[in-house]
């Protein structure tokens, strides 16, 4: 037996959630060629079909691109620190792609590595993630190459699968998912078939061993020279999580904030002395690849990549992790 729900019924649920004051984040058609996860104001904005994947990611829901860490007030010699308000609005991410949701448990590792990040964890608790299994792919999708698949439930509270004729199968994964859909679904005998997913181009779970040999390769420059050094790959990535901390405001009042940052920026590792440990773009590209496929898996047991392909989709010059890894593998095969 399976549980099903109609698409109109889902939209009625969205309406109810919005009325209850919850924040609903879903894929939205911003313009003809741009689908993006955005907070929705009305249920008909939510895309439930007809897109491969948004160009941004749902990490913004738990790790916003800008957030206050605390505020300060200075009066003479008196300094007061005021905690930044903890998030308290419940959020529902609807129709997220599984390659987005899968990044959340991966991010949990680093944000709880000995020191627990309070606002990250708070947002995580407040968030319910409802994914929508993929039925279409583009040339950049490679979830099957990192051991995932189009109906992966990692990080999902519930998974929706398209049954056609305006009907979705609902597979609740966690208690959160159960309670979200409790009483809203109907029992059915229909289940969605498992699609093949995008073609499996490599086994990137094992690329780490290859990388161990590849660090000093002279071809890094040739593989990555076209990188322009922007942050489009990192900011569209569901798993990239580097950040900067700066004070904004004046000497009398303001806030210490954290903003997304990216390892491809030349300033990222630049010391005040002028010394830059990663002075060349090829070193910065190499760092991104190693962090995702060698450092993170060795530390936390999981790749820092879900195969969503956004790095290449967003790249001004069609780079991103897969083209680089394929180049490494091609060289290795020679």
């Amino acid at each position: 037996m399976s549980q099903i729900i109609s698409k109109p019924a889902i939209r009625r649920l969205v309406e109810r959630w919005l009325r209850q004051g919850k924040r609903v984040i879903a894929p939205v058609q911003v313009r003809p060629n741009l689908v993006s996860y955005q907070p929705v104001r009305s249920p008909d904005q939510v895309l439930l079909e007809g897109f491969v994947r948004p160009l941004n990611s749902i990490k913004q829901v738990v790790f916003p691109r800008h957030e206050q860490l605390f505020q300060y007030r200075v009066r003479g010699k008196q300094i007061d620190l005021l905690p930044a308000p903890l998030p308290d609005v419940e959020r529902i991410v609807l129709a997220a792609r599984p390659c987005d949701a899968a990044a959340l448990p991966i991010l949990d590792h680093v944000f709880n590595w000995e020191f627990r990040d309070a606002t990250y964890n708070r947002r995580r608790e407040l968030t319910t993630v409802v994914t929508l299994a993929c039925t279409e792919y583009d040339a950049h999708c490679f979830c099957t190459s990192v051991g995932s698949q189009p109906n992966d439930t990692r990080g999902s509270d519930a998974l929706l699968l398209d049954l056609g004729d305006q009907t979705l199968e609902v597979r609740c994964v966690t208690d959160k998912g159960q309670s979200l859909f409790a009483g809203q679904t109907e029992a059915s005998t229909r289940t969605a078939p498992t699609g093949p997913g995008p073609e499996r181009r490599a086994d990137l779970r094992r690329v780490g061993q290859q990388l161990e040999q590849a660090f000093e390769r002279s071809e890094w420059a040739a593989w990555t020279n076209r990188c322009l050094g922007c942050g489009a790959c990192a900011y569209g990535c569901p798993a990239c999580h580097c950040f900067d901390m700066v004070d904004e405001g004046g000497p009398t009042c303001g806030a210490r904030v954290r903003n997304w940052d990216a390892c491809q920026f030349g300033q990222f590792t630049l010391h005040a002395s002028g010394h830059n440990p990663r002075n060349a773009q090829s070193q910065r590209q190499r760092q991104r690849i190693y962090h995702k496929f060698h450092v993170y898996p060795n530390k936390f047991g999981e790749l820092l990549c879900t195969g969503c392909g956004n790095c290449t989709r967003n790249c001004p010059v069609s780079l991103g992790v897969l083209p680089v890894l394929e180049a490494i593998q091609a060289e290795g095969a020679k």
Binding site: N56, H66, R226, C230, V257, Q267, A280, S318
Partner: protein, 277 residues
């Protein structure tokens, strides 16, 4: 088109006139062409030319990773080469140390191509193919902007708020821009910190306004910023606005005349001042 292009590049490399060709290549799997840097004459077969060669490669003349490869030849379209003209006027490149290979272009299916008047490169050292440059009246070139400006200011403000709300400050606009060549961008300077680095609405407005200030009268309208923006922000509107102001007030169209005097590099008592209030 492709054969003469490859042949020209092969000859330039073989004869040692250049050490590297900056051109377009495409892997079998890749969705569109991307920049390649050919150093071996035997590799010119990697070069491609098709209606998706939308990247303005001129940016790579400034990247130190490419500069170390030696004297370059660069493949440009008629629109791209305007950036080379400006870089030379601004003393950023030594034109005699660069071989420019212009390729005639019928358009790359970009919005700006519809009003292009530079299908045929004019300042290249070698030109491949032939296309006709039609004069485009200003009202046609700025039509996209004029249409936008027909909206009342409050609607335009609402539009920009909604657009810039999405900006994540990935700086792809800056990194892809052939005329954003500052060693350290103003947004990276922190003594003093002039701009909020945060990707908030305030910080985003500040960033895009400052960038426009720095490109006013210089921008050549290659619209790479618009093309690469992962959030689909139509920065072309800003570019057109800058170009129109420069043309209307100073008769200057950036990068179209190597002999022209730069708007920001020259002062004349006849300069218009009506916009200074």
């Amino acid at each position: 088109m492709l054969q003469p292009l490859r042949e020209t590049c092969r000859r330039l490399l073989q004869d040692g006139i250049v050490q590297v060709v900056i051109g377009y290549g495409q892997a079998v799997r890749a969705v569109e062409p991307y920049p390649v840097f050919i150093t071996d004459p035997d590799d010119v077969g990697q070069l491609v030319w098709n209606e998706q060669c939308r990247t303005n490669l001129v940016k790579y003349l400034l990247r130190k990773e490419i500069r170390v490869l030696g004297k370059p030849a660069i493949v440009v379209k008629g629109c791209d080469e305007r950036a080379i003209v400006v870089l030379e006027q601004e003393s950023q490149i030594d034109r005699s140390q660069i071989v420019v290979i212009g390729v005639a272009c019928d358009g790359m299916a970009e919005p700006r191509c519809e009003v292009c008047d530079a299908h045929q490169p004019r300042f290249a050292d070698h030109t491949i193919g032939h296309a006709t440059n039609e004069t485009q009246p200003a009202e046609r070139r700025y039509a996209h902007l004029c249409e936008f400006l027909e909206q009342p200011p409050s609607d335009r403000m609402a539009y920009w708020k909604a657009e810039l709300e999405r900006c994540v400050k990935c700086y792809a606009c800056r990194q892809a821009c052939p005329l954003c060549y500052c060693e350290r961008c103003i947004v990276e300077k922190n003594r003093p910190a002039c701009l909020d680095t945060s990707a908030t609405l305030k910080g985003n407005f500040a960033w895009h306004i400052v960038r426009a200030f720095h490109l006013a009268s210089r921008c050549v309208g290659c619209d790479q910023c618009s093309r690469v923006c992962p959030e689909g922000i139509d920065l072309r509107l800003v570019n057109l606005s800058m170009a129109r102001a420069s043309e209307a007030s100073f008769g200057h169209r950036s990068g179209t005349d190597p002999q022209a005097e730069l708007v920001l590099g020259n002062y004349s008592q006849q300069d218009q001042e009506h916009f200074i209030r």
